[in-house]
Symmetry: C2
Subunit: 322 residues, 2 copies
DNA sequence: CCTTGCTCTGAAATCGATTTCTTGCCACGA
DNA sequence: TCGTGGCAAGAAATCGATTTCAGAGCAAGG
């Protein structure tokens, strides 16, 4: 490895001068600076970030932790975070937590040890963030809040949008609307269920537990839940699917049963490339994935820059178009 | 930050002893080791990886560089890499290159500077990997080879599978089969085109340039190309779409034209959640994304462990089922 | 001509871990 | 009783950068 000492020797100066040149030549004569730059180029010198980090206790990496790297929603959020971070000179380290608090904690441990400059996280249901938070590592939540910690967060207005989407089904004439959502305790699952319930209540319907299914946020979960619902004595005439994966599963089940829209009404809460081929009539709400990521990254950069003060929580609207 | 010195002071030993305890207590008396461990736990000590890396010149991070983080194929590959790496005690830093050699090089620079232990990369068409390769950083290619570098690589048998899939269309009775593929110079795009060509040639058809479209590997590209093809004087009766994105675009265009399968034959080279809702008759080849990632990660770990020898290139079969 | 005050440079300390080298201690055998 | 071997533990060097501090050189002012 070629070090600052090699460059110094070749340029005939001291390591201190080399460091100064790379830091932004305050008080370095132009000719020496030029000599250093030439020597560095000839040797292919690249500063060792570990050493920099050790000395300055700052880092140019942010960690992004998502529960499911294969969900297009989270990849879109990630991409936005990456765009902001890169523009500010940071690299992004992406970590896949699988909704598993243990994995999450393990990655947080790495983030602390590395150390990274900050963390953007979509926390799992019972996330343990103490490792990072207690040490003052800046952490910003995206898409979900972290229960028990007061942290900056930027989320979508799931409840209102879920209600709006459900209302669209009602307006289209569907009356027995089922809700297929994620596990209890997962904030987005609960909020969307609440929105569905709100919409029914607004029309004087008592939301019936029969028509609610809680399954993992997966295609298989959606399929299984929808099959169960179809097999009921009084099957639903519409399904509110609380995320893009569930909606895919629901549509697959409906296709198998020959009851695709418009025979059955469907809401896909959150879009996905999948919906490109969805039958007409499916109501797709587009989540503000990019906006969430952008804002979360901005907040994180502010905290990294030293912003103090109480935790901020922002809620972005979701446009429910048809 | 709590350091090894703090722990040493609290346990009443020297920093050297603390280090030895954490390294795996060779020649440390059990009682001192216990004291060290207790002190470390009380203080919440976590070793600083930057310092470790600086001293030992080893790192527990591997970088994964993909051209499109939003493509489910690459996320599946990534997940496999992550699984292998994690099992071996490594964290994965995921980098999104956007098929842009400049971005790629920028990330490689970071990888070298950090330094990471190794890199798994799906290189862009004119990738410049010298930065990493010249310094002896282990690099393994996945899904594509890196032109001009002799590196370990694990790829899928695109040409054979493309031929097989095209043959299925021929066997189903389609006769004017178009090919929508990626930009010239992208290995997977070229190989799949070659396979398509092979299949036609095997039946005595001369592959006609009229029926070939080269567009970016995007949904929009697939839609545009397919619209063009449909507008031809002699439109195709089937389309071989060389990747999952293109296939989605093709299906969208066919849907708009009212010519969905089986009216038009379609091959989707590479699956995606999207195909769940594809009309019956679409031929989907499943790429061995997971196997590619697993093998690439294994190869990388071998190189990191010091394996020497010539570059290895492995080609995994693709099962073309219908 | 001497002092004062700059600017530019280098020597050396520093960050937090690992590792070599050395020393202290104890046990064992002669 | 003394020498030798071996283990346990500490002191100090080290990794590659940054940064403080001090010194050299030079110009301006009295």
């Amino acid at each position: 490895m070629v070090t600052i000492y090699d460059v110094a020797a070749r340029a005939g100066v001291s390591p201190a001068t080399v460091s100064r040149v790379f830091a932004g030549q305050v008080n370095v004569s132009p000719d020496l600076a030029e000599a250093v730059r030439r020597a560095a180029a000839e040797l292919g010198f690249l500063p060792n970030r570990g050493a920099q980090r050790l000395r300055t206790a700052t880092s140019r990496i942010v960690a992004m932790m998502v529960p499911d790297i294969e969900n297009p929603f989270f990849t879109a959020v990630t991409r936005a975070v990456e765009d902001v971070a890169r523009a500010a000179g940071y690299s992004v380290m992406l970590c896949n937590t699988d909704e598993d608090p243990a994995r999450e904690e393990e990655y947080l441990r790495v983030a602390v040890q590395e150390p990274v400059a900050g963390v953007v996280i979509a926390p799992s249901a019972r996330a343990r963030l103490g490792l990072a938070v207690d040490r003052g590592l800046p952490v910003v939540c995206v898409d979900r809040h972290a229960a028990g910690y007061s942290l900056d967060a930027v989320v979508a207005d799931n409840r209102a949008a879920a209600a709006a989407a459900t209302s669209l089904l009602l307006k289209a004439g569907y009356r027995r609307i089922a809700c297929v959502t994620g596990p209890a305790g997962v904030e987005t699952a609960d909020d969307r269920l609440a929105g569905w319930s709100d919409a029914l209540a607004a029309l004087g319907q008592a939301p019936s537990a029969d028509l609610v299914r809680r399954v993992p946020f997966t295609v298989e979960g959606g399929t299984a839940a929808t099959c169960e619902l179809l097999a009921l004595a009084g099957p639903p005439d519409a399904v509110f699917a609380a995320n893009n994966r569930l909606a895919a599963g629901t549509l697959a089940a409906l296709a198998a049963a020959g009851r695709l829209p418009p025979a059955t009404g469907v809401v896909s809460f959150g879009g996905s490339p999948l919906m490109l081929l969805a039958p007409p009539g499916v109501i797709v709400t587009q989540l503000p994935a990019r906006a969430l990521g952008l804002r979360a990254a901005e907040m994180l950069l502010e905290r990294i820059a030293g912003l103090d003060g109480p935790a901020r929580s922002e809620t972005l609207p979701i446009s429910v178009t048809f």
